[in-house]
């Protein structure tokens, strides 16, 4: 997918820079409105991953990872399920059962409603987006031809 490390032409880079922001914003929108409209953490997470992939496609691996900080991404990816679990444990502490929805339910149709569903959607979106991106990155880095004829 990324044959030349330099990425693609200037036009594509520029278009991509404009698009990526939109794609990521859209992903975040889907995640945040998961309890109100179709989508949610899983759909929005994939949109996030697609946005990151667009960057990878346009700029090539080197430049992308320069400003994406792979270590941070990996830590975030590892930490997000932990947050899910801790939210669940908070339910045991204050809600009487594991994963009980302890926050205030709010007003129907408001963005800040439905208690824990919103934070859980955010955690899931983060997890899905980052892990899918990391998998495709690993596949892109994987070289089929090296060392195969041993």
């Amino acid at each position: 997918m990324t044959d030349k490390p330099a990425g693609m032409t200037l036009i594509i880079k520029t278009v991509c820079r404009l698009l990526v922001g939109l794609i990521l914003l859209y992903g975040i929108y889907i995640i945040l409105h998961g309890h109100l409209s179709p989508g949610g953490g899983f759909g929005g997470g994939v949109v996030l991953a697609l946005g990151l992939l667009a960057v990878l496609l346009a700029y090539g691996r080197e430049e992308t990872l320069k400003w994406l900080r792979l270590g941070l991404l990996k830590d975030l990816e590892h930490a997000s399920p932990l947050v899910f679990l801790l939210i669940g444990l908070a339910g045991t502490a204050w809600g009487g059962a594991f994963l009980a929805n302890i926050l205030s339910k709010g007003r129907l149709f408001a963005l800040l409603s439905s208690g824990l569903i919103l934070p859980l959607n955010v955690v899931i979106g983060l997890k899905v987006g980052l892990s899918l991106f990391l998998v495709v990155l690993a596949m892109a880095e994987f070289d089929l031809d090296k060392g195969a004829e041993e």
Binding site: M1, I30, G34, H35, L36, S37, P38, G39, G40, F42, G43, V46, V47, A49, L50, L53, E77, P81, F84, L85, G88, F98, L99, N101, K105, G106, R107, L108, F109, S113, S114, G115, L116, I117, L120, N121, V123, I124, K127, V128, S131, L132, L134, V135, V136, A138, M139, A140, F142, D143, L144, K146, G147, A148, E150
Partner: protein
């Protein structure tokens, strides 16, 4: 047109597309065919009033296609080798599957007919979902409140699959025989 006609048409298309994907010799065409089937599934979800699923199916399908294309499409390698078992095995499998199909037709008649689900549990979700969870999207209410434990499992499945994929792809091969760097 009634929804059954649309769905019958879509399902027929999916079956056809799957057979094409399985029988065609060119890898790229095969993967594209399965992608089209996946999109048809997404469309069927839309018909069945499941927009959540349509969105997720559509996006995940794109992602699966990216993974498959990245993994298998190479400049010098397009056509598959003889990819099936012998004629006898195919024959027996087909006969066996056809028998299974004919035998199970009766079961579908015992089930509640299409369009009239029992919904003994789900009625509760529809009636009390919004009040209980505060979520307008009742599916979101189910996956993140009523059945949040399933979703915890789901996140773990994803984590495990990713961890497994990265483990398999990790570069250093262990005994020099496995390839890699």
């Amino acid at each position: 047109m009634p929804i059954e006609t649309w769905l019958t048409f879509l399902l027929g298309f999916m079956i056809l597309g799957s057979i094409v994907a399985l029988e065609i010799k060119d890898i790229l065409s095969s993967i594209v065919a399965i992608g089209v089937v996946g999109l048809a599934v997404s469309l069927a979800f839309l018909f069945l009033q499941a927009p959540d699923l349509a969105v997720v199916q559509f996006l995940f399908e794109i992602f699966a296609l990216i993974i498959l294309v990245r993994a298998f499409i190479r400049k010098d390698f397009h056509v598959m080798e003889r990819a099936s078992s012998g004629r006898w095995i195919i024959g027996f499998t087909l006969i066996g599957l056809a028998a299974v199909f004919l035998l199970s037709l009766k079961v579908f008649r015992v089930l509640p007919p299409f369009g009239e689900p029992l919904m003994e549990t789900s009625r509760y979700y529809l009636e009390h979902g919004a009040a209980d969870t505060g979520a307008a999207n009742i599916v979101a209410g189910i996956i993140l409140d009523y059945r949040a434990y399933d979703t915890l499992g789901e996140v773990t499945v994803l984590l495990t699959a990713i961890l497994g994929t990265l483990t398999v792809l990790r570069f250093r091969a262990r005994d020099g025989k496995g390839g890699g760097r």
